[in-house]
Symmetry: C2
Subunit: 167 residues, 2 copies
């Protein structure tokens, strides 16, 4: 396989940006910017998030069996950057971001255009990121969306011409 062709072809997949959060109820909060996300079923409403093995987000969501996917909007570039680094919980904020607890206990960060609370229905333990399957149990819209909802989302390409996570 030609490695450059593999990389370029995989980078043809477009991505949005999200902050994945989890709270195990034992004082441990995990949070990370993720982009490898897709819905996978209408009924029940399922989605997949690929999460880096060993990250705090992975460890805490695996322990709790619940997570939230906070959808970032065009105005949240700095938030995406903040959660590329390991999450720090201090002064009632996660990596500087205010949050409230969702119905499932996972943190909903204020800097979002929407959030999906999920329960984990399966994890495929293959590769350097594992495939987390989540069923949507609650949804929150920050405000009504005008036009296409996917155009309000912060996209990977909005971070710069050469910013990719994939390939």
């Amino acid at each position: 396989m030609n490695n450059d062709d593999k990389k370029t072809t995989l980078r043809m997949i477009p991505y949005g940006l999200y902050v994945l959060t989890a709270d195990d109820g034992q004082g441990n909060i995990g949070a990370a910017t993720v982009n490898w996300v897709t819905q996978t079923a209408f009924s029940p409403p399922l989605l997949v998030v690929a999460v880096k093995v060993g990250s705090s987000a992975y460890t805490v969501l695996k322990a709790s069996g619940r997570f939230a996917l906070n959808v970032l909007g065009k105005e949240h570039k700095a938030v995406a950057g903040a959660f590329f680094k390991p999450a720090v919980v201090a002064d009632g904020r996660i990596s500087g971001q205010a949050f409230t607890a969702g119905a499932n206990g996972a943190p909903l960060i204020e800097a979002r255009i929407g959030a999906l609370e999920c329960k984990v229905t399966g994890i495929v333990e293959q590769g350097d990121h594992h495939i987390v399957v989540g069923e949507v149990t609650e949804a929150h819209l920050a405000k009504p969306v005008e036009g296409r909802a996917d155009m309000a989302t912060l996209h990977m390409r909005d971070l710069g011409d050469n910013v990719f996570y994939g390939g």
Copy 2:
């Protein structure tokens, strides 16, 4: 859960468009336009495609354990439309599209900007679409890409302001 909020928030996830193909070597070819796709690992290179249960693409890829993901470009709107309907193989074409066989036997349609050949490494049988995990075994670029690779891809929003598959 508020159903409208769930739908709108899920539709914040941006998608590209792809034609998933498979050939079981017994005369059965499956093909379908899909958009629920994400990479899930760098090493090995894994991706997930959610495929409608009962579709020809699902049945044939499950039997063969192999598939190809043909990435559509901005110029391939009509191809996306052709594969929304059940695939018809006639005159050496699939739903009117010329193709060649990939190294893994799956059809590579000529109308593409790239293609990823995959072997199935797992299927999560949850929901009305099942989660197919594929390891990339071969990659094909139709031609060099100028600028961001994800901008050459046909996106769901390119099909119209009100065209969605998700929510």
